[in-house]
């Protein structure tokens, strides 16, 4: 039997049913010239020849391994221990799809459960879902959840201008049609006090990023209290998530929802995706939480087992009353994050975070000494900081590239008021030599 059941007899049956004599007649509306166009393909070559050609093309590519990378801004170049790709690449994990059937999915379900438990500890939150597509969609879901926690009666979202610009764009892509007002980031100068002043009885949530997109740490003292006094929720984007190895968890300073990009935990840069949307909330709001949740239980014989406790609720139970259309999760990347966290352990994670912090501060100190350059980040920061450069960042980066360096993020693209400002990121992968090389290269390019 042919794999695709479309035999001549099948075709004739279907054509007869619609009263068409032949396939040619069926497609008669397609102009002759387009039905079988001349494709002008090169002459067929052997497998050896084509591999040779493709290899030659592949050699033109560069990877982050070819450069000293100082680019962060949402995607972070961290070390991925070999144990992760080799374990996550096992067929049992790699091919597993949605774990609807607990009797055949205990491995995947337990991995998600462990992921949820570790993220809960790291963020200081009570419940964590099985993940979303990426940090940006997690944040948009957090805004929707805030509206639903208020039973749809609060429809204003206050978002800080120091939240990742692409996250804010995703928020606006997600929310039209919901009669929601998004304010706060229209003026890039708005600080926490100005944002707090925008909170009112119609505000569903305040969204802040900590550390901010510019790398500095927010003064969170009294923040949650101010937000809660207005009856709104505090949503914290905990990016870069590696900072949680060192900083106070957002749950401890009163966050109601914590979202983050989980990519730094063992996923690599992956050309920008697939990434991992981390989503954590308070137990009391669990019924309003999007996505799915894996829980631990016992079977009829008292043995430990794992099941989807809030599984396909949106699709199968709430249907048109669903508050989110997210029913899936980023299973494989969540698995890699659990592997990373288990492999590093508490002290390992802290060491990575400390290395990021100290190397970044060394780099900032050295760059600040250069003529023409100034670190404009004031106060404490984690592993990213803003440098005021003597000329356009794009020009500078072209020259750094020639010196084997991927320079920082050009902030003028998203913040026109930040001309010549570069967001520099330093991770544990940046060696002292790389940092010194960056400083030297900037010095010689001082007169851009």
């Amino acid at each position: 039997m042919p794999y695709i059941p479309n035999t001549e007899a099948n075709q004739k049956e279907m054509l007869d049913a619609i009263g068409v004599s032949s396939l040619k007649e069926l497609f008669k509306d397609v102009p002759e010239a387009y039905s079988f166009p001349d494709l002008r393909l090169p002459k067929a070559v052997s497998e050896i020849e084509i591999l040779d050609e493709l290899y030659g093309m592949a050699l033109k590519n560069s990877t982050t391994g070819c450069f000293a990378t100082f680019l962060g801004a949402g995607a972070y170049n961290h070390f991925v221990p070999s144990v992760i790709p080799s374990l996550a690449g096992r067929g049992e994990f790699l091919t597993a799809y949605t774990p609807y059937q607990p009797e055949v999915s205990q491995g995947t379900l337990q991995a998600i459960f462990e992921y949820q438990s570790m993220i809960a500890e790291l963020t200081g939150m009570e419940v964590v879902n099985a993940s979303h597509y990426d940090g940006a969609t997690s944040m948009a879901e957090a805004a929707i959840m805030s509206i639903n926690v208020a039973n749809g009666k609060r429809r204003k979202i206050v978002v800080s201008p120091s939240v990742h610009p692409q996250y804010r764009e995703t928020l606006r892509t997600y929310l039209p049609g919901n009669q929601v007002e998004i304010v706060g980031d229209e003026d890039h100068a708005n600080d926490l006090d100005e944002l707090k002043a925008m909170l009112d009885g119609d505000t569903a949530c305040l969204i802040v990023q900590n550390p901010t997109f510019f790398g500095d740490l927010l003064d969170v003292d009294g923040l949650a209290e101010a937000v809660h006094a207005s009856g709104a929720l505090l949503v914290v984007v905990a990016n870069p998530i590696m900072s949680l190895g060192l900083l106070k968890p957002p749950g401890e300073y009163g966050a109601d929802i914590v979202v983050a990009e989980g990519q730094p935990f063992g996923a690599g840069l992956n050309f920008g995706g697939p990434y991992l949307g981390v989503f954590a909330a308070r137990q009391k709001h669990v019924r309003k939480m999007p996505g799915r949740l894996v829980g631990e239980t016992t079977d009829t014989e008292g043995r430990r087992g794992y099941v989807l406790t809030l599984n396909t609720r949106e699709q199968h139970i709430r249907r048109e009353k669903a508050t989110s259309n997210i029913c899936t999760n980023q299973g494989l990347i969540a698995l890699m994050a659990s592997m990373y966290l288990s492999y590093m352990g508490k002290s390992g994670l802290r060491s990575v975070a400390e290395m990021c912090y100290h190397k970044a501060h060394y780099a900032a100190g050295e760059i600040d000494k250069l003529d023409g350059y100034r670190v404009v980040t004031e106060g404490p920061f984690f592993n990213e900081f803003v440098v005021q450069c003597p000329g356009p960042v794009a020009d500078l980066n072209t020259r750094l590239f020639e010196a084997g360096i991927l320079g920082g993020y050009d902030l003028s693209k998203d913040y026109p008021d930040r001309q010549n400002q570069m967001l520099v990121c330093v991770t544990e992968l940046n060696t002292r030599q790389q940092i010194d090389h960056l400083v030297e290269s900037l010095k010689s390019k001082g007169s851009v």
Binding site: N151, K153, R287, R313, I317, R318, K321
Partner: protein, 127 residues
């Protein structure tokens, strides 16, 4: 199916009982039976006012989510918060411990226009 003789009923399978000047509201035995195991109740806020037939909340079971319609217009004066932790009471005792809200009717005489226990039984039989 149990029908509470002192209550009056809506076509949406909800009951309303008089309690002094107030009215008590819940879902019927037939409704809980159709929904099966109830796991969650979404309440209105105390002080909120609704017109007759407006949605005041949602009950969610392992099978379905159903809107709660208030059959008489009025203002919510109390919600049965215990149900947040013990929603299964809606299954075991829908007419007493399973009450959902208490409200002040805009026009108390509207209660007389709801279905009598007999009419409601007939409605369920016809369904």
């Amino acid at each position: 199916m149990k029908v509470e003789p002192n209550a009056r009923y809506s076509k949406e399978h909800e009951w309303v009982k008089k309690e002094g000047d107030l009215f008590v509201y819940g879902i019927t035995d037939h409704a809980q039976d159709q929904l099966s195991d109830i796991v969650y109740v979404e309440f209105p806020d105390v002080g909120e006012s609704f017109a007759a037939g407006e949605i005041i909340g949602v009950v969610e079971s392992v099978k379905a989510a159903a809107d709660l319609y208030l059959p008489i217009g009025g203002e919510i004066v109390e919600i049965h918060e215990d149900l947040m932790d013990t929603p299964e009471v809606l299954n075991s005792d829908p007419y007493e411990d399973g009450w959902i809200v208490k409200f002040k009717a805009e026009n108390p005489a509207d209660w007389d226009n709801l279905l009598s226990p007999e009419d409601y039984e007939k409605l369920v039989e016809e369904e």
